[in-house]
Symmetry: C2
């Protein structure tokens, strides 16, 4: 007899019971959570923001090297990142799962352990969802809801000429983390006795497996009295996201290559993999840092912030979106983004 | 050259553009729709309700007999049905798709044509979503948002002893529609020259392929001044849903077999398929009618409503959940529900 519990034996209602019992609500705006036809939320005078993301096994994650608990955490964090990018405070999530036949109750509980850890970390309530079976692997669809005072939401379309272009944290690490994990997977498949070589790759692997939404920066900007003029989270790569802001705001941008923040492990590992580190930083994706613009007048408020780097400025639309190399030469920025089709 | 457009050529951003351009917003509470990190919604003093459902190809739908346009409509309707079951007015939806490699842009546009038709019919705004590829078939995850005045949401857990048990419309047709479609599929696979035999099955097939959320009844109950004490939509079958209300409200129920509403095509086709029609009515599922309870004092307001049938009453918990047959014998109700695992 297996020591694991088959979801087939448990049934959908049984699984929902298990999930519901492990959930604790912490937001006063959550009036009714799991267990009815819909959750009831009372935002008061606030506006709400709603974002949704779908993660598909084999496309967005590989369970060979991504533990289910980390996957649950990441699935929530990437949605919270979208809420952060609106300058909003996350309050609720719903989680829908399509579950392949090989998953046991214990596996799904691991996934939910990660989801709950993220809920605790970001102070959001799990208020609903759906669970069903899948003919293929695991599919996770999360919808995140947040609150923002009317007029405080920050869109992509409101950057102005002369605004400073800022990014949080550093870039390129999640992409290189994925390259490292894929290399170790190949080595393991060739020789299962191999131990993974992750020395001096810890930061990259962590950034790939356990990204964090930059809610900390959202709270800090509020404390500093800085409201970004435009903001987006970096899921597809800096270049692609900067293009979105420029296109939607009707402006151009100039950024400086020598200002782009990167961890030393990114530079070392890019060299090891013979990839241009600038490509990793510009187009790597999955960093879940924030890209935002602020008026020039806010320069003094942010210039010494340890987690914010000013990388350039917004310019006239006619100047296009360009990157200036250390040589002084400027090139049009290429947005590669991720093509999941 | 194919006359169809590959999603691979179009890319995710291209697909989002196509979708976004076809969307028109109609609710004043929708401040920002598709095109930013999250949608912005302003519910004012209202509470919001949030529900989510996932539909998986091969589990919930079979494209052999379900046209993509109908599928899009149904995917929205089943979510709106959850909003209706909260006594709320639907306002926004998000739609996330994982799309298998065989789907073309034209196929996804058909799906969205159905989604837009449902948005128009239920007056909801498509405000966001996510699109990605899938290694298997099509997966549709929809989150629906609705508004309700504080105190007006109707839960499952608030039915009282002596309340009347009511259902809208008629039951069992969607289940038999599925049996008919499956039979015709088998016949077609055995002999592709066969024409489907759907005479006197039109209603059943329509109920399976194009269910409607009963928002009409929600509006009518408001006009009649009737607020249900508890409500749920019938997605898994009357028996299962009645059990949910009884369990969550801590009461029992007695319903009468000869009161259960069914269309003549249900009775005829159940006989033809040698299935007990009462089983179809009680456990068929996918009817998306509303099951609700009202105080006895509302009897006169609803007894002549053409779309509402009183099928029994709520009783003490000790009496259990029972069905009384025309013979006068009472039996404990069996909830079979759908097991998608």
């Amino acid at each position: 007899m297996s020591e694991y519990t088959s979801l087939n034996d448990l049934g959908e209602f049984g699984l929902i019971d298990v999930i519901q019992q492990s959930v604790k609500l912490q937001n006063t705006s959550t009036k009714t959570g799991i267990g009815d036809d819909a959750a009831v939320i009372e935002p008061g005078q606030k506006q709400i923001v709603v974002s949704t993301d779908m993660l598909v096994e084999g496309i967005h994650f590989d369970l060979t090297f991504c533990p289910l608990k980390h996957l649950g955490y990441k699935a929530v964090a990437v949605n919270i990142s979208d809420i952060a990018a609106m300058n909003a405070i996350p309050t609720q999530i719903t989680v829908s799962l399509a579950i392949g036949a090989r998953y046991t109750l214990e596996a799904i509980q691991e996934l939910y352990a990660g989801i709950r850890a993220a809920c605790a970390s970001y102070k959001v309530d799990l208020v609903g969802g759906d669970t069903t079976s899948s003919n293929a692997g695991l599919i996770i669809s999360i919808t995140a809801i947040g609150e923002v005072a009317a007029g405080e939401a920050v869109l992509r379309s409101t950057a102005k000429v002369n605004d400073l272009v800022c990014v949080t944290g550093d870039l390129g690490a999640a992409y290189l983390g994925l390259q490292v994990l894929n290399r170790e997977k190949q080595a393991f498949m060739a020789n299962p006795d191999m131990q993974p070589e992750l020395e001096k790759k810890e930061y990259l692997v962590e950034r790939q497996l356990k990204p964090e939404a930059r809610m900390d920066v959202i709270y800090e900007l509020k404390e500093l009295g800085v409201k970004p003029t435009a903001m987006i989270d970096i899921s597809d790569g800096l270049a692609s996201e900067l293009m979105h802001i420029c296109t939607q705001s009707g402006v151009g941008a100039t950024i400086f290559q020598d200002k782009l923040p990167a961890d030393e492990q990114v530079l070392d590992t890019a060299e090891e993999f013979k990839i241009d580190p600038v490509t990793c930083i510009l187009n790597g994706g999955e960093d879940y840092e924030l890209l935002f613009t602020v008026p020039l007048s806010d320069y003094d408020k942010i210039r010494n912030h340890p987690d914010i780097t000013i990388i350039g400025k917004m310019v006239d639309k006619q100047e296009g979106v360009r990157i200036v190399m250390p040589s002084g030469n400027a090139y049009p920025l290429q947005a590669q983004g991720w093509r999941h089709f």
